[in-house]
Symmetry: C2
Subunit: 212 residues, 2 copies
């Protein structure tokens, strides 16, 4: 990792996919790969791969290609997967507990340290080794443990209520599953949206379109 300055989000969004493919290659014992071969497997152009990687440095070698293990590690580095950003999760409903239990946070740069809900009956329940805490204790919790990231698995209205509050408490990043568009009017924070409904509607369009 070396150059970099304002790499476009289009490039960034391709990095996790490179990372996955390189991980798979490693598992199958491939230790060296050319941009041409990787492009073929991924269904993209070799030019794009080389351009993308060169936003961050020259990881390859002319006449040889790329060392799979090294490149894999470089991308992990670029993405910050070795970090342990403290993470809290809001909403211990269906979606919240699925996210809490299924995601491999430790492999992706995060450490889940707290789960919160407003529903009395859920408080105290243990999910992934963590007790569900009352949302009313979140200010104190943040002051003590200083998480930098929050996952929103709460309804739109609650999201609206907590977004600014958490930002004021030092939360810099939101992984947002709610229907709220958090970022608007707040430049200090970063947001990654997962709008499942939008995704499903997009699929609806694609099918609708394909069946014509």
């Amino acid at each position: 990792m070396s150059k970099r300055e304002d790499v476009s989000i289009s490039v960034i969004r391709r990095l996790p996919r490179y990372y996955r493919f390189l991980g798979d290659l490693l598992k199958t014992g491939v230790y060296r790969i050319s941009s041409k071969e990787l492009a073929l497997r991924m269904g993209i152009t070799a030019s794009q791969i080389r351009q993308d990687l060169n936003c961050f440095g020259g990881f390859g070698q002319q006449g040889y290609g790329y060392n799979v293990e090294q490149l894999h590690a470089e991308i992990a580095n670029i993405l910050g997967l070795d970090k342990k950003y403290k993470l809290i999760l809001l909403g211990a409903g269906n979606l919240g507990r699925t996210i809490a239990t299924q995601m491999k946070f430790e492999e992706q740069g995060f450490e889940l340290i707290g789960i919160f809900d407003k529903k009395e009956s859920l408080i105290g329940e243990v999910i992934r080794g963590l007790p569900v805490r009352s949302i009313d204790t979140i200010d104190e919790f943040c002051k003590t443990y200083q998480p930098v990231t929050a996952v929103f698995c709460i309804p739109k209205n609650s999201a609206l209520e907590y977004a600014d509050r958490l930002a004021a408490l030092g939360i810099k990043g939101f992984w947002n599953f709610s229907h709220l568009d958090i970022s608007i009017g707040n430049d200090d924070i970063v947001v990654e949206n997962v709008h499942l409904g939008d995704s499903l509607m997009t699929l609806s369009y694609k099918i609708h379109d394909a069946l014509k």
Copy 2:
């Protein structure tokens, strides 16, 4: 809905967001809106809104703007939200049952008609009014009920096993939560990927980058 021919995916992906904002406007009693005002609320340009909409037809009126209710309905139409594409879900684990219970399929163009898993102990359990069926009965089920869409909440290996098989059984669209890149080498089908891990890694990068 009128013109249209190969509208770019960038445009399509913005439609659900327009749809959400228009729905919110309707709820708050706004019946008329200009591209300028909508752009302001959404944090995009008015030009983009007008360009996007004009891929499908002229829904506005000079000097007036857009009728919110009508535009909302037009977009629903474009996206095919009034359809009832038959949908099956593979994988009744944590994620699968969350998707099954939480999504508003009927409002987004789909009708969930079957849930499948390979795990013996889950078979017969009822989720959203549907019994979990053995994955072994899926061929017969598809021949009988002819679903056109499948949700993949199964591991990569299983996804690899079932993608082609389902395509052969008439499945045209996949909502893919697995780590497999389904589409490669199959032009007949449409795929909408939800790579939660990729999304989380992207967030990791953004935070990493913002904290610099």
